[in-house]
Symmetry: C2
Subunit: 340 residues, 2 copies
DNA sequence: TTGAAAGCGTTACCAT
DNA sequence: ATGGTAACGCTTTCAA
């Protein structure tokens, strides 16, 4: 492996000059810089991140803690983070808690704490007090994307408002019988997200003088398959709601599949709205409240980079916008038309 | 930040002993080890990966090059890799080429080559000669998962055989008019995968004395939405095939959606088979040739770890098994029943 | 079993 | 503009 010494020797200057030239620092004559760059290139020299990390205290790497990379939201946020980091030459170190989440302790204890990163971005997790403390003790910038966490900075949509808006859309269309495919608080994941989405649904209903029937609220995981089954259960009960607010687009798609299986026409007999604007939302013609997952990831990364560059941390709740996208799965309730 | 010196001082031994004790090396008295472990824990000491990396030449990190993390296959392989690495305390450094792939050069030149990793696993990419050379010049173990690449070690299913098996299944059911939703060679991605799957289809047909009608082969990207449109085009033409072999499960799902929109009953009027055993395959009752993406990732990681541990590289084509899973989207052609 | 000390490859300060 | 040279925190001989 060629080191900086080799380059120095080959170009007839000191290692200090090579280092300066390579990093584009001032106080290097154009001629020298050119020579150094050329020989470095020719020798195939690459800086050792260990050595420069040791010398500078900077790793040029960002830790990203994710529950898994298989879900749309996580994968998309990760893409956003990574895109922002790539632009400035930062690397992404992935701390995947794994589908089962039993490697959690190991991840926190061994990896993150190995001082390998300059900052940490965590996705939608529910930290234990011990974990929070460990993060804090690293003494570097941290932010959570996707769900509010007490004691840690956080960035994401206003879950409550988003859920209210989705439900309100159904109400505005004339629906009075509105069900909810609720999310289940999953172990290790932020429980506030499903809770707030459900609360927003309830608030929207009560604001409109309606009430939520318990049998029209069916919880499931955030996956298509689980939601499909939940929707099947819910829709088989009589009386049946005329509209469904799903806690996520994947759940909404599950509901659409269930409705088809039951021979229910969407949106004539059942309106469905979700949250996310998932990659498949358009394919299914799904009406949804779009949240920019990619943008959230990018923003999180940019905030961390800013802080690393010395900027004072921006404080307070960072709420990103979410907008209603009307497509083909919501319409006024058929009962109305039939009655008229 | 507490360093090894702090621990040494606090426990009244030398840094050498602390280092040995912490890493579980022999020649440390039980008493000393206990003291060291306790003080390290109490001081919240964590080794600096930069420093130990510099000293040992090992980074304890694996580079994983992925086209993106949004597609099922990539995400799942990544989960498998990461699970294997986590077990042994290795970190995953993600080199995401990005959805557009224009950061490719930057990734290769700057990041990968920063000597940050002990080995590299690449997913299903099509390397340029320059990139291949760069990888080789790193001088560390490398493997490609998912598509054969000349000159690099590779691990994955036998694409040709898998495609033949899928098509043969349709033929065995009695189908004679079989179409193919083919994959499009995407820029930067391994072109051999879609090519071989198509070739396997053609070979299976000709082995059975059938021929592939060009108008029954419709290419699209590997996504649900794109395949849905392709299937729509294909199925609207007359005469229509009685069965469809899709180059991936996502494409097969697109075909199912298209069939439903056209009022075609699956499998009565149209059989559909895919490849992958995607997370949604079961939900859609999709018949498919299952490939263990998670296991492939894990295996790749294990191979790399083996080599890093000094084992000689296993050579030759590494083909992992794939098995037919019959579900509800394939059946004998209706024409037969009607004719009889 | 333990300790002293020489690296590991860079960076950054201080001279020049 | 350039060079010499301490760090940086850890590992690993080699002695004791």
């Amino acid at each position: 492996m060629t080191s900086i010494d080799d380059v120095a020797r080959a170009s007839g200057v000191s290692t200090a000059t090579v280092s300066r030239a390579l990093r584009g620092l001032p106080n290097v004559s154009p001629a020298t810089r050119e020579t150094v760059l050329a020989t470095a290139e020719q020798l195939g020299y690459v800086v050792s991140s260990s050595a420069s990390g040791l010398a500078t205290g900077r790793t040029l790497a960002m830790g990203v803690v994710v529950p898994n990379v298989s879900r749309w939201f996580y994968a998309t946020v990760l893409e956003g983070i990574d895109a922002a980091l790539r632009r400035v030459g930062y690397d992404t170190i992935l701390f995947n808690l794994g589908l089962k989440g039993e490697d959690r302790e190991r991840v926190f204890h061994r990896s993150i704490l190995r001082k390998r990163t300059d900052a940490v971005i965590a996705l939608c997790l529910d930290f234990t007090p011990a974990e929070r403390e460990q993060l804090a003790s690293l003494g570097h910038p941290t932010i959570v994307v996707g769900g509010p966490v007490p004691g840690l900075r956080h960035l994401g949509v206003d879950e409550l408002a988003v859920a209210r808006a989705a439900t309100a859309h159904l109400i505005a269309l004339g629906h009075r019988q509105i069900g909810h495919l609720a999310g289940i608080p999953e172990p290790g994941l932020n429980k506030r997200v499903p809770q707030r989405r459900r609360r927003g649904y309830e608030l929207a209903l009560s604001s409109a003088g309606l009430s939520a029937r318990p049998e029209w609220i069916e919880p499931s995981d955030f996956q298509i398959s689980g939601a499909r089954e939940a929707a099947l259960r819910l829709l088989r009960r009589e009386p049946r709601p005329t509209a469904l607010f799903a806690a996520s687009d994947e759940m909404a798609i599950g509901a659409i599949l269930a409705a088809r299986e039951l021979g229910l026409d969407v949106p004539r007999e059942l309106s469905v709205i979700g949250i996310d604007n998932h990659a498949l939302a358009e394919t299914f013609g799904l009406t949804t409240i779009a949240q920019d997952a990619f943008g959230q990831g990018r923003l999180a990364a940019e905030l961390m980079l800013e802080e690393l560059a010395g900027a004072p941390p921006r404080v307070g709740q960072l709420h990103v916008p979410a907008t209603l996208i009307e497509r083909a799965t919501t319409a006024p309730p058929a009962s109305r038309a039939q009655v008229e």
